[in-house]
């Protein structure tokens, strides 16, 4: 059972409105956001182009031209859409994720350019980092940044490290990184600023599958360590 948290409602341009439950990485808030996303997705009125859930906010992208006549105010209609959906989801049970997705990661300096510097900075050895990163089960809070990229958290304070001030031009696909208390995996080669501590060969995004993303909001993820030989085999 849940009560939806207090929120702000604001325009995100002339074709989107955001409902924002504050700047927080909080599992309960994120559950409410995802439940709300599912509810609106189910009934998706035709003016909606996209619904984008994030950590603690959800945004409706709409087509302003679906509202003909200047007397109809999209703001009122979308606000109503959110509040109706909140009413429908409040006091319903949110199913908790039952399965844990286990992902093999090779924590080796040749695959992870920030592994040694991060350990040095945090004054821990690599084995401790591996233990700290693999012992927790992480929640997928949201997809974003790249197709199939999952923002997961939260990592142990002893390995939480800010991202690089200037991003790398190329981060290899499968790189596992840390940014503050978040952890994530690059699905493709891309520029990126996260601290790279390992790599996986698991495919995170399959464009031709009905479910293209391996990791979706609400999923539970646990990493396990594999040696270099296994990674390459």
């Amino acid at each position: 059972m849940h009560i939806f948290p207090a929120f702000e409602f604001y325009a995100c341009g002339d074709h989107a409105y955001t409902l924002d439950a504050g700047q927080q990485i909080n599992v309960d808030v994120n559950r409410c956001i995802i439940r709300l996303f599912q509810q609106i997705q189910q009934q998706k009125p035709s003016y909606i182009l996209d619904i984008i859930p994030a950590y603690s906010s959800i945004t409706i992208v709409y087509n302003p031209l679906s509202f003909t006549g200047s007397d109809i105010n999209p703001e009122t209609i979308i606000h109503q859409c959110f509040t109706d959906a909140i009413q429908q989801t409040e006091n319903t049970t949110i199913p908790k994720s039952s399965t844990i997705i286990r992902i093999p990661v090779c924590y080796h300096p040749t695959l992870a350019p920030d592994l040694e510097s991060l350990c040095h900075q945090q004054q821990i050895d690599i084995d401790t980092l591996i233990t700290l990163h693999t012992q927790k089960t992480y929640r997928v809070f949201m997809n974003g940044f790249l197709p199939g990229f999952a923002y997961m958290g939260t990592v142990d304070g002893r390995i939480a490290t800010p991202r690089h001030a200037s991003p790398r031009k190329q981060v290899p696909a499968g790189s596992v990184g840390i940014a503050g208390h978040q952890t994530g995996i690059y699905p493709f080669e891309s520029p990126g600023g996260w601290q790279l501590i390992g790599r996986t060969s698991v495919s995170l995004f399959n464009p031709h599958s009905d479910n293209p993303c391996l990791l979706k909001p609400g999923d539970e993820v646990q990493f396990y360590s594999i040696p270099l030989e296994i990674f390459y085999s």
């Binding site: 604001y10 325009a11 995100c12 341009g13 002339d14 074709h15 989107a16 955001t18 924002d20 700047q23 927080q24 990485i25 996303f37 997705q41 182009l49 996209d50 619904i51 984008i52 859930p53 994030a54 950590y55 603690s56 906010s57 959800i58 945004t59 992208v61 302003p64 031209l65 509202f67 200047s70 999209p74 703001e75 949201m142 997809n143 974003g144 940044f145 790249l146 197709p147 199939g148 990229f149 923002y151 493709f188 891309s190 464009p207 293209p212 993303c213 979706k216 909001p217």
Partner: protein, 319 residues
């Protein structure tokens, strides 16, 4: 084969109005940068407004029509020629016989050129859109030397000679006006009055490092009253993020779905096509409007394009 790329240009892709409905998976919408030029080109050949077109940059490609074709070019001010001597004006319906080659000699303004063919291209659809997702290489097609494209349907009447229709449409976009209208964003209040005033009074020069993902600028930097780190939230086309270096970044067609930089404003939808035609080196100035005004401008633009679409359909059916 219907058309063949004889020599590739800088960046030639198939684009439609974008791939919506998948941003919750991190799949960005892509689509044309300048929807006005796309709609004009489609209107001129009698297509639906959202039919996929070729979006070209400069230098532009050389294209061979291997079958008769009815086409139109819109967008950047270019000199387009068939077989290097037959000049093709912008925003006109052109009937061309098989075997002709289209090339572009000179560009005097604008950044992107659009080519629509009657009935559209038989390009590959991914997640309900023909827009090329450049990063994933999915949907549409990235065109390179030797690429071939088929028309969905061949022209209904055989073309006896290459000719240009006597009528034309005019673009409603005035590229000489460098004002870009915006509505304020959630983090606009983080700027104090003098920073807000600077943002509006500054002239921002479009940086070389600008592309389909976003436009970067050079100019005098502005900063929030306190350092701000935000957790990731959705961003949209036109969102003006304030980068840590104090300069704005405007998100364009290939933008990411979420971001964490302060959103000081959002360029209005009606001004995105104009911005998409500005090139690095040009300067713009921001001007604030209300959402109501943003919507009024968008409806006005849409109405103009709808009128052109209807007028063109009548002209084409007269033929």
């Amino acid at each position: 084969m219907s058309i063949r790329i004889i020599k590739k240009g800088l960046l030639d892709t198939i684009q439609d109005t974008g791939r919506y409905g998948y941003q919750h998976l991190g799949i960005n919408p892509t689509g044309v940068m300048d929807i006005v030029s796309m709609r004009l080109a489609n209107a001129l050949v009698g297509n639906d407004e959202d039919e996929a077109v070729i979006e070209m940059h400069w230098p532009a490609p050389v294209i061979k029509f291997e079958k008769d074709c009815c086409f139109a070019i819109s967008g950047a001010a270019v000199i387009a020629q068939l077989d290097k001597h037959f000049e093709i004006p912008l925003n006109r319906t052109v009937f061309v016989k098989a075997g002709s080659q289209l090339s572009f000699q000179k560009k005097s303004a604008g950044a992107r050129i659009y080519l629509a063919v009657q009935n559209g291209f038989a390009s590959s659809s991914w997640l309900n859109s023909n827009s090329t997702h450049i990063q994933l290489n999915e949907g549409g097609q990235s065109l390179t030397t030797g690429s071939v494209l088929h028309y969905k349907k061949e022209v209904s009447h055989a073309i006896s000679e290459t000719k240009i229709a006597s009528w034309y449409v005019q673009s409603p976009v005035d590229l000489s006006d460098k004002t870009i209208h915006f509505i304020t964003g959630k983090e606009w209040p983080l700027l104090d009055e003098s920073m807000k005033a600077q943002f509006i009074q500054n002239l921002y020069q479009i940086d070389n490092n600008s592309n389909r993902m976003g436009y970067r600028f050079t100019g005098s930097a502005i900063y929030p009253t306190q350092p701000t780190e935000l957790i990731s939230t959705a961003v949209t086309k036109g969102t003006i993020q304030l980068l840590p270096n104090g300069l704005p970044l405007i998100l364009m067609a290939d933008h990411q779905t979420t971001g964490g930089y302060p959103r000081i404003g959002h360029v209005i939808s009606a001004d995105i096509p104009k911005l998409a035609q500005f090139e690095p080196g040009e300067t713009i100035q921001f001007k604030e409007v209300s959402i109501t005004e943003a919507h009024r401008r968008l409806r006005e633009l849409d109405l103009y394009l709808k009128q052109m679409e209807i007028a063109c359909k009548l002209r084409i059916s007269d033929r």
